[in-house]
C-alpha cells in the first residue's frame, strides 16, 4: 500500500476529493489497520475526467477483475456512486456520496486538511467521521470503529 503514490497522482491531475474512511480515521488518530484508500470525489464532468487520468497513471483496474476488463472512463465515474479500483499502489474505494454527510460539495465546508509527503490532503474531520460511521453500522466492525472515534473525541476533549 502506497498512499503517497495515490495522493500524488490525484494532486498532479488536480482531482477534487477528500480522504474518507479508515485512512482518514487513522490520520485523525484512530488505531485501525486500513488496507485501502477511500475517497469522496466531486462527481462532475471535469473532475471525473481528471480522476480518470489519475487512475490511468496509477494503472487502475476495476476490482474484482473481470474476464473482459472494464475501462475506468469519466462516464463510468459519472454514472456510479461507488467504484472499487485496484492499483499497484493499493486498492481504492471511490465514493460520490457519503451516507450521513452527503456529496463532495456538502462535506468540504467542514473538512480539514493535513500535509502528507509535501501535499495538502483534504480529510474528513473527526466529527464528520463520527456522523458517517453513525449512519453506517452494517457490521460489528463498524460499531467498533464508531466506538474508537467516539473515544478519540473524548481524548481530545480532555486534552
Amino acid at each position: 500500500m502506497d498512499p503517497g503514490a495515490i495522493l500524488r497522482a490525484l494532486a498532479e491531475s488536480r482531482v477534487e476529493y477528500a480522504l474518507v474512511g479508515g485512512l482518514a480515521a487513522t490520520a485523525q488518530g484512530a488505531s485501525l489497520a486500513t488496507f485501502d484508500v477511500d475517497l469522496c470525489f466531486r462527481q462532475e464532468q471535469g473532475n471525473c475526467e481528471r480522476l480518470a487520468r489519475a487512475l490511468a497513471k496509477l494503472q487502475a483496474e476495476v476490482f474484482p477483475p473481470r474476464a473482459e476488463p472494464i475501462p475506468i472512463t469519466p462516464d463510468l465515474l459519472l454514472g456510479h456512486r461507488l467504484v472499487h479500483p485496484k492499483t499497484p499502489a493499493g486498492r481504492l474505494d471511490l465514493l460520490a456520496e457519503i451516507p450521513g454527510l452527503g456529496r463532495y460539495d456538502d462535506l468540504m465546508a467542514e473538512a480539514e486538511s493535513f500535509d502528507f509527503a509535501g501535499l495538502t490532503v483534504p480529510v474528513l474531520s473527526l466529527d464528520q467521521l463520527i456522523r458517517a460511521k453513525s449512519a453506517l453500522q452494517h457490521q460489528p466492525k463498524d460499531r467498533e470503529h464508531l466506538d474508537q472515534l467516539l473515544a478519540l473525541k473524548r481524548l481530545r476533549e480532555v486534552g
Partner: protein, 32 residues
C-alpha cells in the same frame, strides 16, 4: 498516538499493513 502528526499516523498504518500482509503470505491456508 495523538502525539504523532497525521502524516506519521498514515505512515505507521502503511508499515503496519505491510507487516500484516507479510504475515498472511507466510501463513498456510487453513485445511477444509
Amino acid at each position: 498516538m495523538l502525539a504523532l502528526t497525521p502524516e506519521e499516523r498514515v505512515l505507521r498504518n502503511v508499515h503496519f499493513v505491510a507487516l500484516i500482509e507479510e504475515l498472511r503470505r507466510g501463513r498456510p491456508e487453513p485445511r477444509a
